[in-house]
């Protein structure tokens, strides 16, 4: 019944030529490699990872999935991504622990309620389940929620999004690596990209710490490091690399059955299947490549959590960790290719949203790389939008949710 654990993915020989090279062994890179091999028959694909796969944001996010974005360009992508989880579990034959618990976003003022009303209207128009709740309905959903008037930001109401939930993030890394490797994709860990060779406006090779790889297609899926990969081909990006922290409490009996979040408190929380309360959201508002953690933030999170969920008073935090987020001014990603360098593709600038979108984006970026034509669903995310002043308006109120706050 129980077999000894085998390796999920194979050690592959380092070849000097590949049909496509993916920079970054995170979820977007692995998903793209998997779909290149599976849907498009491009099997000579290398995924290059400086550290080990899942080392960066793939293993540091708080594993929440949802599709209650704000704009008509973003919602369809996240909606399709959300519907893929049950199907992916079958397809990859791996338990991704998709827990469809629903997300509750709290509003603490009439104005915030107005912003949520717009978000709910957009969701419903595009066929995504999302509804407005008043304060009492929020309390019915989360009996431990504090809806009294004597806290810093009393709860006014909320937006409930039933299709959302959580997915085990490491399982997704392992499952995609396993699936891609089985289809012939080479995953090279401890392999750092040091340069990208361009000849007459097209990509010809990738220089790595283990030698040169000749290829005509490169995808920059390096997450926060994508700005540095991009600098290798002299493309500057509208990205700020900001550090973000998250933490978990000691395990508790099940009491919180939904993902709960609050913009005013800069806090979100959900109870993992192990019973730990996973909480995060605060982002240090300065550029950093260090994954530090700070006492300031532990205090902030403890204050926010115990005001919203007073039953957590006295509960201890067990672990805290930091990661990096590649934030764009409009909180939407940059997905582009063949412009201005033929064969150079990018899938970056995901900020907070890289986890929930990884599988679906990988599917479409693979199509983009295989055919050279941008799928319709990805067209709004091209880099030129900043020059054309067509930002996507994913932030409800830029002064409050911009990169500096």
């Amino acid at each position: 019944m129980f077999e000894p654990f085998g390796r999920l993915w194979k050690q592959a020989p380092f070849r000097s030529t590949y049909d496509a090279v993916i920079v970054g062994g995170g979820l977007h890179g692995l998903a793209t490699a998997y779909y290149l091999a599976k849907n498009h028959g491009v099997r000579r694909v290398a995924v290059l990872e400086k550290n080990h796969i899942g080392y960066g944001s793939a293993g540091r996010n708080t594993a929440i999935v949802r599709a209650n974005q704000r704009t008509q360009e973003n919602i369809p992508l996240y909606d399709e991504g959300l519907k893929m989880w049950p199907q992916l579990m079958d397809e990859l034959d791996f338990n991704l622990m998709f827990f469809n618990c629903g997300n509750l976003n709290l509003a603490h003022s009439e104005a915030a309620m107005g912003a949520l009303r717009l978000q709910v209207a957009s969701a419903q128009y595009l066929g995504v389940r999302s509804e407005l709740l008043d304060r009492k309905q929020c309390k019915e959903l989360i009996p431990h929620l504090n809806i009294s008037e004597d806290i810093t930001y009393p709860v006014f109401g909320g937006m409930y999004h039933p299709p959302g939930g959580t997915v085990r993030h490491d399982a997704l890394v392992w499952a995609l690596a396993k699936g891609a490797s089985a289809l012939g994709v080479h995953i090279h860990q401890q392999t750092e990209v040091t340069g990208i060779a361009v000849h007459r406006g097209r990509v010809t090779a990738v220089e790595t710490s283990r030698g040169t790889i000749h290829t005509l297609r490169v995808l920059n899926a390096a997450g926060p490091w994508s700005v540095l990969v991009s600098a290798m081909v002299d493309i500057r990006l509208p990205i700020h690399v900001l550090p973000i922290q998250a933490m978990v409490t000691e395990p508790l009996k099940p009491f919180l059955h939904h993902v709960i979040s609050s913009g005013a408190y800069h806090c979100y929380a959900n109870q993992s299947l192990k019973g730990e309360v996973v909480t995060g959201a605060h982002m240090d508002p300065w550029i950093s490549y260090g994954t530090h953690v700070t006492a300031h933030y532990i205090k902030h999170q403890a204050e926010a959590l115990t005001e919203l969920l007073p039953c957590l008073r006295g509960v201890k935090f067990m672990r805290i960790w930091g990661g990096l987020a590649d934030m764009t001014p409009d909180m939407a990603p940059i997905i582009d290719g063949n412009d201005p360098i033929e064969g150079y593709y990018m899938d970056c600038g995901w900020g907070y949203f890289g986890f929930k979108s990884a599988a679906v984006t990988g599917k479409y970026v693979a199509e983009y790389m295989a055919t050279g034509r941008c799928p319709k669903i990805l067209q709004p995310f091209r880099l030129k939008r900043y020059e054309e002043n067509r930002l996507l308006g994913e932030t409800a109120s830029p002064p409050q949710y911009g990169p500096w706050n």
Partner: protein
């Protein structure tokens, strides 16, 4: 671990007292030669240098001064003392 920034007026203070104003990106392009490209370059595009860079800070919870410091985003440490700007 705590991070600090040196304000030209208040001296070395906890970094959380300050507001980050972004990397130094030169002068605002003048209206004479303004194109969508160089405007986008100035407003949106960033270098995110992985080493010491000159950047702007504002002492929000202190004296209210804007100034520049040299700081390394790899280590989150100041690399040289801050300088006052006019």
């Amino acid at each position: 671990m705590s991070f600090t920034i040196t304000c030209p007026i208040c001296g070395k203070r906890d970094l959380y007292e300050f507001r980050f104003g972004g990397e130094e990106r030169g002068a605002r392009p003048d209206y004479e030669n303004l194109t969508p490209q160089n405007w986008c370059d100035y407003v949106h595009l960033r270098t995110n240098r992985p080493g010491p860079q000159r950047e702007w800070w504002f002492h929000r919870d202190g004296c209210g001064r804007w100034f520049t410091v040299w700081r390394d985003p790899m280590t989150n440490r100041e690399t040289a003392s801050s300088e006052a700007t006019r």
